[in-house]
């Protein structure tokens, strides 16, 4: 036997493959389990880290926002203090007249106004605490006389001389102010300015046209601002806390080179709050704020920025600006140059479309800059009143933003991921090693065991080969207690029996043939006794058989129906039963009958003939009511049975076919309907009547059933000779087998279906006795 066919090879293969598959599966499960665990832990850590980073960034950004707003608020409160002093001077001017006059006259505070050599402006000496400048348009130029300071302007300067006491300490202390100044109302818009320097020349150099009438300081440098403030007049809510009136300009570059600044103004009002009376201003240096923002380092390379809510980023380090795709544009205004880095002009789509927050809380979003993911955190500073070049003053808020590369936030996580992947790989490698080692061990064991196990089998196979060559002198060594050992012992025993049989065969044959001879002699004797009886019985049976067959409709008759394809079959049993079927054309419908007279022999045949005659007669008399029809047949038969004194009844079903509708009356076997599509319907006729000939009146027991027949549908009528046909073991053929045979053959003509059914029944009966007539009528509605 080739090695690859041997049992042992198969055994080793099966064991090897199953061990290998098992190890592979368990190893795979372990590997995927660890990978899965790593993934889940990673997700968990990622969630935790994102939460922590969001928390950290949120706290940090709120701290920064507080610090920045604190910076502004400090300046605001200084400005409010100074303004409150100036407003008091206006509100209590009358009461303070002696003080103001004294101040204006005091050597320390007195402003010694001098006309500039070229007569372009008036200015004090510069040795006083503050420089006071009255612009060219505040000078009277009467005819050829040298220009003089307008008297009302000079008076206004005197009235504010006292401020020289307050402004210097406020300028030098507290927040980082580049300049602080008082400017009078439009018509007297002189400036009281710190630090003291040649302001007239400076402003003239910067904006010469300003110096000429009909200009004024406000409308020239801050167009709309005074109109914006004046619009508040009469709105008492605006005047309850005057420091709320502080108004900020956008950030701009200080003209004198002081770096980025923002100007804070607070207006002054006449005592009745009915008119604008000047304002105090601080040029607050943004350098510290900007340096602070630009200096913030978040994680590795994260950065911060500060923007107006118009989207102008005015504090950001160059690296950050590059990453956000911002570019600086400077627009020169009158005397001030603004710098703008607008979010909407960014080269990064995510920054262009960035929506600044609208609430007070921090927001955190993820965005992609130059293909890299970042986390953006934003928070707004407290609101303030802002001027932006027009009379429309509005509430504005600055926005602090943090931008941090996601990978820096998740750096720890990525390290953990890498560790998990590495450990999963180590597990995989050790799993493979374990698999191979175990496989080697198991295979070694399997080979050892199989050698023992298959030894007996090999012997058995050899011995069986010997037996096939008629050598019965073989013996198998079977010592083991398992099934194979048992097999070997049984084999030995069987070989022993075969040996014995072979030796005694002739004796057995002689014994059996002797039995057959005896049986044969008995059969011959019985046959001789039966011959006489048979002659008589045979004659009667022959008559009955002829009677039965001669009244059945012929093939030609059945072919005459245009709508129905009909095929009948009847095979009388050895002792004729009383089966009956008929198909007749009536005046109203095609009348189809099937029935079975109880009992066998001539009397049954005669009764069947009576029924056939009665049906034909009634049909000829045009009886259309199926109930009456059957009731009359019953009555006729009942009377005839009584007359001829036979003990017989009959099951009989009468069917009317008309226009695709089959109406059934009378009790018989079930009617089997096989639809063209193969669906099966069984019409039980038990409740449609009673056995015929048992009772004189059965009309009350007759019911009708109706079956709609579509073209191609098939109906099988039959007698119990089919369903109660027995095979040699005595088991009935049954309705289910009949239905299977009908379904299988349903596509054929009625004749083909009939032939198939009868062939199936006959095959089933085989050599067994046929007890009863076998009858069927196949009806198929023609397509």
């Amino acid at each position: 036997m080739p090695w690859r066919h041997s049992f042992r090879t198969k055994l080793v293969l099966v064991a090897g493959v199953s061990v290998f598959a098992g190890l592979l599966l368990s190893g795979g499960a372990a590997y995927f389990g660890i990978a899965q665990l790593g993934r889940e832990a990673g997700q968990e850590t990622r969630r935790g880290l994102s939460y922590n980073s969001a928390e950290y960034l949120g706290k940090h950004i709120r701290n920064v926002a507080e610090r920045l707003s604190g910076e502004i608020e400090r300046a605001e409160s200084e400005l409010a203090t100074l303004t409150a002093v100036a407003q008091t001077l206006i509100d209590h001017r009358r009461e303070l007249t002696p003080l103001l006059d004294a101040a204006a006259a005091s050597p320390l505070l007195r402003d010694r106004m001098q006309i500039e050599p070229e007569g372009r402006w008036a200015q004090n000496s510069g040795e006083e605490p503050a420089i006071v400048t009255a612009w060219g348009y505040l000078l009277d130029r009467p005819g050829d006389a040298p220009p003089r300071l307008r008297a009302d302007v000079a008076a206004a300067i005197d009235e504010t001389a006292l401020l020289d006491l307050v402004m210097p300490p406020i300028f030098s202390e507290g927040s980082r102010k580049l300049q602080i100044y008082y400017v009078g109302p439009r018509e007297r818009s002189f400036a009281r300015f710190l630090p003291a320097k040649d302001l007239g020349a400076k402003i003239f150099e910067m904006a010469a046209p300003h110096n000429d009438p009909p200009n004024n300081f406000w409308d020239f440098f801050f167009p709309g601002l005074v109109d914006g403030w004046s619009a508040w007049i009469g709105d008492s809510a605006r005047f309850t806390a005057l420091h709320d009136q502080i108004t900020l300009t956008p950030p701009y570059d200080d003209a004198a080179g002081g770096g980025p600044v923002v100007t804070l103004f607070q207006p002054l009002w006449t005592a009745d709050r009915g008119a604008f009376a000047g304002a105090l201003g601080f040029d607050l240096s943004l350098t510290a704020i900007i340096d602070y923002v630009e200096g913030l380092r978040l994680f590795g390379s994260g950065f911060a920025f500060l923007a107006t809510d118009a989207g102008n980023v005015f504090a950001i380090n160059p690296g950050g600006a590059r990453r956000m795709g911002l570019s600086l544009t400077t627009s020169a205004g009158q005397g001030v140059s603004r710098f703008e880095q607008l979010l909407k002009d960014s080269s990064e789509p995510a920054i262009q479309g960035l929506a600044l927050p609208t609430g007070d809380g921090t927001t955190s979003t993820e965005l992609t800059l130059a293909g890299h993911p970042y986390v953006l955190t934003l928070v707004r500073l407290p609101p303030f009143t802002a001027w932006a070049g027009t009379a429309e003053l509005y509430r504005s808020r600055w926005v602090v933003g943090f931008i941090v590369p996601s990978e820096e936030i998740y750096a720890a996580l990525d390290a953990a991921d890498a560790a998990v992947t590495a450990s999963a790989r180590r597990v995989l490698i050790s799993q493979i090693a374990i698999t191979l080692l175990t496989l080697a061990l198991v295979m070694f064991g399997v080979i050892l065991v199989s050698r023992r196990l298959t030894g007996t089998l090999v012997q058995l196979a050899r011995a069986a080969g010997q037996i096939s060559h008629k050598n019965y002198e073989v013996h198998v060594e079977a010592e083991s207690a398992d099934e194979i050992g048992q097999l070997g012992r049984v084999f030995n025993q069987m070989v022993g029996e075969i040996r014995q049989y072979t030796a005694n065969l002739e004796g057995l044959v002689q014994q059996r043939t002797g039995e057959l001879e005896r049986a044969n002699r008995e059969i011959i004797a019985l046959n001789e006794r039966l011959a006489e009886e048979n002659l008589r019985m045979g004659a009667e049976l022959d008559v009955a058989r002829r009677l039965q067959l001669m009244v059945l409709p012929g093939e030609g008759e059945l072919a005459a129906f245009s709508e129905l394809d009909l095929a009948g079959f009847m095979s009388p049993a050895d002792e004729v039963g009383g089966d009956y079927y008929d198909v007749l054309q009536g005046g109203h419908a095609v009348k189809i009958a099937i029935g079975d007279v109880t009992g066998h022999g001539l009397e049954s045949g005669v009764l069947m003939l009576m029924v056939q005659t009665a049906v034909r007669t009634l049909l000829a008399s045009d009886e259309a009511d199926p109930r009456r029809f059957l009731a009359i047949i019953n009555k006729v038969l009942y009377q005839n049975i009584a007359r001829i004194r036979v003990d017989r009844t009959m099951s009989l079903a009468l069917l009317d076919y008309r226009d695709g509708l089959l109406t059934v009356a009378g009790q018989h076997e079930e009617i089997i309907v096989i639809r063209a599509g193969g669906e099966v319907e069984r019409v039980d006729t038990m409740d449609l009547g009673l056995p015929i000939g048992l009772e004189p009146e059965i009309a009350d027991f007759i019911e009708l059933a109706q079956v709609k027949l579509e073209p191609g549908d098939l109906v099988a009528l039959y007698t119990d000779g089919i369903t109660e046909a027995e095979d040699p073991a005595g088991a009935y053929y049954g309705v289910d087998r009949m239905i299977d045979a009908l379904r299988a053959a349903r596509a054929g003509s009625s004749a083909q279906v009939r032939d198939a059914l009868i062939a199936d029944v006959m095959k089933y009966i085989g050599a067994a006795k046929i007890h009863d007539d076998i009858t069927t009528l196949i009806i198929k509605r023609r397509a």
């Binding site: 009992g599 022999g601 003990d647 099951s651 038990m686 109660e724 007890h771």
Partner: protein, 113 residues
């Protein structure tokens, strides 16, 4: 009272008023005569109650069913006997035929197991 052969046994147990059918009944109509006589006697004897026990009757041909129907019709004519039939759905002929007994004897109790 008993009629029996190699394949069947029909007998009446007077104490329990029970008529037993057993085995396979595949006789010709004429051969049912002894059984029909026995049934006629049972009809005569029947008091207010009769049980027909057919659980062990495996087959009854149409001639036999005919005799059974006639027996039922005879009982109906007496109209004084409450009849109970014990039958089995496992036997095909009983499923079909016991329904007819109900038609001949509307008060019959059919106890099918």
């Amino acid at each position: 009272m008993e009629v029996r052969d190699a394949t069947y046994r029909v007998w009446y147990h007077a104490e329990t008023r029970t008529l037993f059918f057993e085995g396979t009944l595949r006789l010709s109509t004429a051969d049912y005569a002894p059984i029909s006589r026995l049934l006629d006697q049972v009809v005569e004897l029947a008091a207010e109650h009769l049980t027909i026990h057919m659980l062990e009757l495996n087959f009854l041909n149409s001639a036999g069913i005919n005799s059974l129907y006639k027996f039922a019709i005879a009982l109906r004519k007496r109209a004084t006997t409450q009849v109970t039939v014990r039958g089995s759905t496992a036997v095909a002929w009983q499923q079909k035929s016991l329904g007819n007994l109900k038609k001949f004897l509307p008060d019959i109790i059919i106890d099918v197991q």
